[in-house]
């Protein structure tokens, strides 16, 4: 993928501490339009905390987040209008149908020609036959597809995906990856992607950031990074970073 120069996401000196313990510590990075950036790290490294801060649901202790050049703290609503997300821990309301969920969130994002956009997404994510099914009765794979359809409803400039393919079968995961890659290839936006599936990360991401104890400890091309650090694969590199993290982990940080 070819990334354009203007970042859709700019994170500068981001820090979040809980009771004096830093869950995220001086993290800075950009995501450009047309770029998929992987945010990797062991459990508790600060990935979800970082994503929550970018989503505006967790206030940073310090630092600056700008989405499409708009400061999140100063102009939250405008900044978040250019964003959307899907996360395995944030299922859509199970008591609304697939179509109702898409309509409600489409209205929140002020999507033009909403009915037409909903039809496009139902077709794209193969959800047409479930349009009148309550989201709560869908399988985990179908719920994931619905979350992704919701995440795409406003054609976001910044898409945040927190383990989007967790708990779904390889075939569906492949389709989802292809869909995201297609979205990015059209130059519509940039993606920040967390995953524990290193195969997936290597296949999809243009660049990865390794977080450990709230800090970025490695950054680079996932295809070249293992060789540059003497690891046989991205999986091995991840394990090495995780072990280093575990060996001198002082204390688990709540909320990280």
């Amino acid at each position: 993928m070819t990334a354009s120069s203007a970042p859709v996401l700019s994170v500068q000196g981001l820090r979040k501490s809980f009771g004096g313990l830093a869950a995220v510590d001086d993290v800075s990075f950009d995501v450009a339009a047309g770029e998929i950036v992987g945010l990797l790290g062991p459990n508790g490294a600060g990935k979800t905390t970082t994503i929550n801060m970018i989503l505006g649901v967790l206030a940073p202790t310090s630092g600056r987040i700008a989405i499409e050049g708009v400061d999140l703290k100063a102009r939250r609503s405008l900044a978040l209008a250019a964003t959307n997300f899907a996360a395995v821990y944030a299922p859509l309301p199970g008591n609304l149908t697939v179509e109702q969920n898409l309509r409600v969130f489409g209205m929140i994002y002020g999507v033009k020609n909403l009915s037409q956009r909903i039809e496009e997404l139902l077709a794209q994510y193969d959800l047409g036959r479930y349009r009148r099914s309550k989201a709560g009765v869908l399988s985990s794979g179908e719920q994931t597809r619905l979350s992704l359809a919701k995440a795409m409803i406003n054609r976001p400039r910044l898409l945040l995906l927190d383990e989007p393919t967790a708990s779904i079968d390889p075939s569906t995961a492949r389709d989802i990856r292809a869909g995201i890659e297609s979205f990015v290839a059209q130059g519509q936006g940039g993606v920040l992607w967390t995953s524990h599936n290193m195969y997936e990360v290597e296949e999809v991401c243009d660049r990865v950031l390794f977080l450990s104890r709230g800090k970025i400890v490695l950054e680079g091309d996932p295809k070249r990074l293992p060789a540059e650090h003497g690891a046989a694969s991205l999986d091995d590199l991840f394990v090495a970073v995780a072990h280093e993290h575990l060996h001198d982990q002082p204390q688990r940080v709540a909320g990280a």
Partner: protein
Amino acid sequence: MNPSRVGAIVMRQFYLYRGSPQRILPMFAWVAIDILLWGFITRYLNQVSHSGFNFVPALLGAVLLWDFLTRIMQGVTMAFFEDVWSRNFLNFFATPLRISEYLSGLVLTGIASSLLGLIAMLIMASAVFGLSFLTFGAALVPFLLVLFLSGIALGIFGAGIVLRLGPASEWLIWPIPSLVSPFAGVFYPIAVLPGWMQAISRVLPPSYVFEGMRAVVAGKPAPWDRLALGGGLALIYVLLACLFFASVYRYAIRTGLIARYSAETVS
């Protein structure tokens, strides 16, 4: 304020009610039970008192007005609880939705559901027990307005408490109208209360409504100045409740409460 976002909150509630008899039935069932119970009590009191005083507008009217306030409060809190129960905060608050838009959506939902309840109450009370709201004359407008604002204030305040303390604190919210009613003088004049209770009554807007209602039923003119004071107080409480909710929301954003909101994680 973006109307589309406010509409989205209302639309979500409309979808929930549309396909759910178990949500619609309570809007009418409790009201019907109250009207029946108090309707027969007032009819009995009219028979045994021989005083010539008509208890129907004084007691049944009071029940009806108090139920109106309770319905509005519950309309707002129920709409909020739907997001608590479906753990929807992260989905909603990670969008451009502003707190003012979210609260406006909850309030509009509360208005719609309480108006349906009010219409049902009026039909039943007039058809079965001959209560006419026309008895209250033009004062009915400020009566409903003050109760409406008070219900909204209580509803938003209750939602703020649950946001701060977690879903398990829901049980704290339901009894709020019952806690307020002795001080509001729903069934008796404020003058019969001890001094300390009267002091509390004076800062409760509904007390001005029920005092006014008794004055009108007794054939006296409506106390417009007192009703205006009640309305002013109610408006202040709505603003304070919104500020309280916004302050809890800011706390939740600062601490990460929104992102991991559940009964188990909130302390």
